[in-house]
Symmetry: C2
Subunit: 421 residues, 2 copies
């Protein structure tokens, strides 16, 4: 089971904050806090539509049978989650998954088209409303591409929409065209949607065990609900970051030693940045990939402004894997590592880094996830979601809205002459 080390924060401070932490926890459990109508993710690992889930697994299987490429069209929560899980757990390479609709670059769209080439593809468009510009533009493009290649009828079985259950442009269009649809539940916002069909369809299509992912989330849901006080990892993490923030830390750096974790870092940045970055408040979320970034951001971490803290993500060190071989000549002087696996060296790098940064004045938390895999990742995802809700309530914001995202869109639509803006 996932564990957290918050020993960098004085226990007395965490204890002092416990009443407020429990109050925040109760708000989530009782749906009595700000934005409560967007907290259905709290019980999602149990309360999901089982029949729809079975249909989703069938659809994923069909995608794998009929395609070499799955084009996922989505932005924000509609792509960060599935991309992160697929990269971290390494999907089956026999289906390539490409992400579109997450930028406004004509060149990127052209390169994606070239990459698909003559291969068979399926499109999974993910949008609650269908009105978000980036995915809407990309979907108009890929719909035309699919119809040109497979005919209007053939395209029907190659377009799957994940969208609102009844409202919105994308739902109407899908019903009119006869596309299969999956539901983004009303009570789950984009950044909390990875365990809805938003994430599950592309993840299942990648051949990843979604049952194990959900089981992990379920286990963590139970733990978050019942574990007492600071024994509750999510409460401990939320309290620790609140104490650090109020003590003057303005930046949280999420640090992993697994290069597969990079996109999980991006998912985490949205989760925390969008939940807490409002009302002039919030820790600035940043992510690093070690040991690579020890050779770039490492200098800053060690000796820069002391306004940050660091949260390490650790999985158990794999038992097997590539070993450093003995070289009789030892020209490169590496024989002191001979017989060690690369991952054992990685573990020493982690320990060395945590000590170095601690000595350098950076409070360091560690989240231990256990053996890398779908179940541990399900736990980690739910852990971060739950802690984020608690943390947002502790901060005194509504962790489930994102009022600031509209400002640039309004300006953009005015420039583009959108009717009615």
């Amino acid at each position: 089971m996932l564990r957290i080390d918050t020993s960098a924060v004085p226990a007395a401070k965490l204890e002092a904050l416990l009443p407020q932490t429990l109050e925040a926890h109760n708000k989530l459990q009782n749906k009595s806090g700000a934005g409560a109508s967007f907290t259905d993710w709290v019980t999602l690992p149990e309360d999901y539509d089982k029949a729809e889930y079975r249909r989703l697994l069938e659809a994923a299987e069909r995608v794998r049978e009929q395609s070499k490429v799955l084009v996922v069209v989505g932005i924000g929560g509609s792509y960060l989650g599935p991309r992160a899980v697929n990269e971290y757990l390494t999907g089956d390479p026999s289906l390539e998954i490409l992400f579109a609709g997450c930028n406004l670059s004509g060149d990127a769209l052209q390169k994606l088209t070239n990459r698909i080439g003559n291969r068979d593809f399926t499109v999974n468009v993910i949008s609650k409303s269908g009105g978000t510009t980036e995915p809407a533009v990309a979907f108009r493009y890929f719909r035309a591409l699919a119809e040109a290649k497979y005919g209007k009828d053939g395209a029907k079985s190659r377009i799957i929409a994940t969208t609102d259950k009844s409202r919105g442009i994308l739902k109407s269009l899908s019903d009119a065209e006869g596309y299969e649809t999956f539901v983004i539940p009303d009570g789950v916002g984009g950044r909390y949607s990875v365990l809805t069909p938003v994430g599950l369809l592309p993840i299942a299509a990648a051949g990843i065990n979604t049952n194990a992912l959900i089981a992990g989330a379920q286990a963590m849901m139970e733990s978050c609900k019942t574990a007492k006080g600071l024994e509750n990892a999510a409460l401990a993490y939320a309290a620790a970051r609140n104490v650090l923030y109020n003590g003057g830390k303005k930046i949280e750096v999420l640090a992993s030693f697994d290069p597969d974790f990079v996109s999980m870092g991006e998912w985490w940045k949205q989760l925390y940045g969008e939940s807490e970055g409002k009302d002039g408040k919030g820790l600035f979320p940043a992510a690093v990939s070690y040991t690579a970034d020890l050779h770039s951001m490492g200098q800053y971490m060690q000796q820069g402004e002391r306004t940050l803290f660091e949260t390490f993500i650790r999985t158990d060190t794999p038992k097997n894997g590539i070993t450093v071989e003995t070289d009789p000549a030892n020209t490169d002087g590496l024989n002191f590592l001979a017989g060690k696996t690369i991952d054992e060296i990685n573990d020493a790098a982690y320990q060395g880094t945590k000590k170095a940064h601690t000595d350098g004045g950076v409070p360091c938390l560690t989240v231990e996830t256990g053996v890398k895999g779908a179940e541990a990742l399900g736990q980690l995802i739910y852990f971060f979601e739950y802690a984020c809700g608690v943390s947002g309530y502790l901060l005194g914001v509504n962790p489930f809205d994102q009022p600031g995202v509209e400002a640039y869109k309004t300006n953009m639509f005015q420039l583009l002459g959108k009717p009615g803006v």
Copy 2:
């Protein structure tokens, strides 16, 4: 020519800082500041070894002829620069370039090996000393792989070392084994090395026009040397970020609207973070890729803690490219965009974002690079390097050392039982 908009910073404050800015500038030009022995990059676009450069272009051609994959083994400045340039300018896909030695993951190394498969490969190992753990471990592995596949003799023409001109483990080993070598000049640190053979060999192997890249850097070198006062874009940028930092901004967010720029952001983060993050000082460097990250970090940028400023990177909007087509049914309501290129919509997104963030209390600078290409990128690279040196001197640090990078290594070597540690 590259231009900068610093109008978000009061002109009077930039003027007031001008004497110190010019002093910092003179330190660079006269090699009279801290760390001056590592400032040979200042004149590098002219003062490079022309014969070695010709040999480098030949080696790059040979790599392309004999291989389908180039494995670049390096970490920090030895991989961030070449990776960034190759991704931003999109190398020729007929040679795949893979980066190794930039992490300590056995799984990542195994996946890289699987990805090479049966294809012919060349290895370019990049390390000043040869002693850095990550690339050293990876190089021992790939050297064995090349020798197993091509024999000890055959491997000689498939291993190229970019290293010190005379000292260090990698140089000795290369001389003993007969590998071709290229020189990392003594006076150029890792994060300033992209226009040395460190970057130029993998960039040329990718089929990118290194002559144009160098020509761009040369033009910017001339401009940085001669442009007067705040007409000098690098001085204006350095002064603006110093004014903002001293005014309480602690984070600089580099924002591009080109998804190809992501790795350039990582290169920039090393350049500034490692140069300035010391003595308890320095702006924390972060990078975002819009419009994707408007749907993740956008909320924080708009309404979070007001301790940050933003630097936009803009290239000219491409004249051609994919256009939004008219859809007679207009089910998705996008016909107001019909006839516009996706890049024109992107430009509106940029303008809308800059206005929104400015209105939200974020000072926004913009660097305009002109038409995207190798020459503009050469300008941008030199611009950032020069401004970084000036900015570091303004901050009162030595921008050319990285004393904090050793701390974790020392701890790690103790744990690993390295002889003599």
